[in-house]
Symmetry: C2
Subunit: 320 residues, 2 copies
Amino acid sequence: MEARHLPTIQDITSASKTIFGVACVTPLVEAPALSRRFGRQVFLKLECFQPTGAFKIRGAYNKISKVMESHVVAASSGNHGIAVAYSSHLLGKKCTIVVPENAVEEKIRRMEDFGAEIVKFGKYSDERGTKAKKLAKEYGAALVHPYDDPDIIAGQGTCGLEIVSQLKEFDSVIFPVGGGGLISGSSIAIKTKKPDVKVFGAEPEGAPKLHEALRAGHPITLESPKSIADGLIPNSVSELTFEAVKKHVDESFTVSDNHILAAVKLLLKDAHVLAEPSGAASLAVLLSTHDLSALGERVVIVVSGGNISLSLLSQLLSNR
Amino acid sequence: MEARHLPTIQDITSASKTIFGVACVTPLVEAPALSRRFGRQVFLKLECFQPTGAFKIRGAYNKISKVMESHVVAASSGNHGIAVAYSSHLLGKKCTIVVPENAVEEKIRRMEDFGAEIVKFGKYSDERGTKAKKLAKEYGAALVHPYDDPDIIAGQGTCGLEIVSQLKEFDSVIFPVGGGGLISGSSIAIKTKKPDVKVFGAEPEGAPKLHEALRAGHPITLESPKSIADGLIPNSVSELTFEAVKKHVDESFTVSDNHILAAVKLLLKDAHVLAEPSGAASLAVLLSTHDLSALGERVVIVVSGGNISLSLLSQLLSNR
């Protein structure tokens, strides 16, 4: 078993070479209408432009390119599963994704498009994880965890590395937080290159795993996390991601589902970008916080994904 | 009166310096899901990310920065008016926009936000144009035409100039066509730098002014142009824009309103980008043409604007 230590800036730089040509260097653009609205420069890092529609491809491809086994297994109802399926397809590996019984057909179809075998099992994340572990053992396959893995964290860290190379001066960055893979890897890159930049998390009020962990000083397990932002509801961060976060992340803000949905609409209207609710949680911070001074004059909003179904979007727009 | 000659590549390069820091160098990104769908590399040039939501800021700012008068007048129901208002605001000039009596409130509000005086007049483009001319004379103001002007054309040409600097190798570019300002200026830049690249137009079946002009060999005037793409329905291109188009544009394809709306949805779903119908006409070509071989292996789709109201978008999504 490989060593379980956090990736260094060298690991992240190396990951960015590994994923070159597979994951995109996504655009980092100012959104002038948002800048006017919030009285400070607002930049968007558009991870929704990744080939799989979300940042997850960074970590998944970095991990799977290092795996010796010819078969990989993952548990996921969404973006991680799509990224693992796509990476396995590119790397010529067999791929099995364990999805919940009630998974969205659209997402399953995308995994199948990349040749993944789909196993429907249970309803909860824990059940899926256990099933995936079992299957991996049975198949002699590698299990690809969505965030609790140094190679996944290093891959997601390339997002932060890109930000510091794309923008000379900025004061803060806000990342949506699920299990903490994106913010932990990226905060290592950002604080190494620009120690003065503030790094913030954004998570749903109904799933404040990082906010609570930062208060407690250690990962805590939530009873029943719940949010419209279905990518941000693991019941805890991991020991590994928390180790980086504790050191490098300044604060994790919680936002209501209403503010998350308002942020999805605002990104459409003011920036012409389609984000999924999980991907817009970062912008929701600007809608729900009265005092934005902690963000400084130049804030980078990471729009981590865009895989919202058009039927959900349609509902959202008609409930105005 | 200034000379009425087409801009040269030097004029376009000079325009790109003039507009630097005002108009954005918009991202040019591959949309992998569209590439997979259409069996060739599909790149998007995202003019919907401009500060005013459409490419028009390029020409308007270039023109108005050269104007001696302290007051400018323009006729427009949409993106040109917003761009003229924004540019005037930045350059400290007074601004009057003549809009149709039935103009969309949302767009009027955006012009007013930038300090423009709004004059509602008539319903048709011709009436507005005449009224604007009259007002300009009365005010001693400069009239800013949306496309029939060398400085406007040079400004819009910076879009083409950026494309050739952003992408090393590509086979074709498709531009939405209204009065022809964008495609004429950009085709000068593209064919000067890359003579082998094909330049195509896309216009609504209900407003095929360029398609017909290319057949006739001179600009023609349409009786009653009509389309959901409200930015693409002038009744003719101008002598000036046609002069460039005749020389540099390979073909102008016509697309149905249904294909335009399908392209708006596809950009949302596959690329997570919000385009207005006029801005998506270029992608509609790929939906309506059976034989895509003329486009080559690498096609750039110019998404010229994103100012669609969320209520129209909502209607569009619920009519699935």
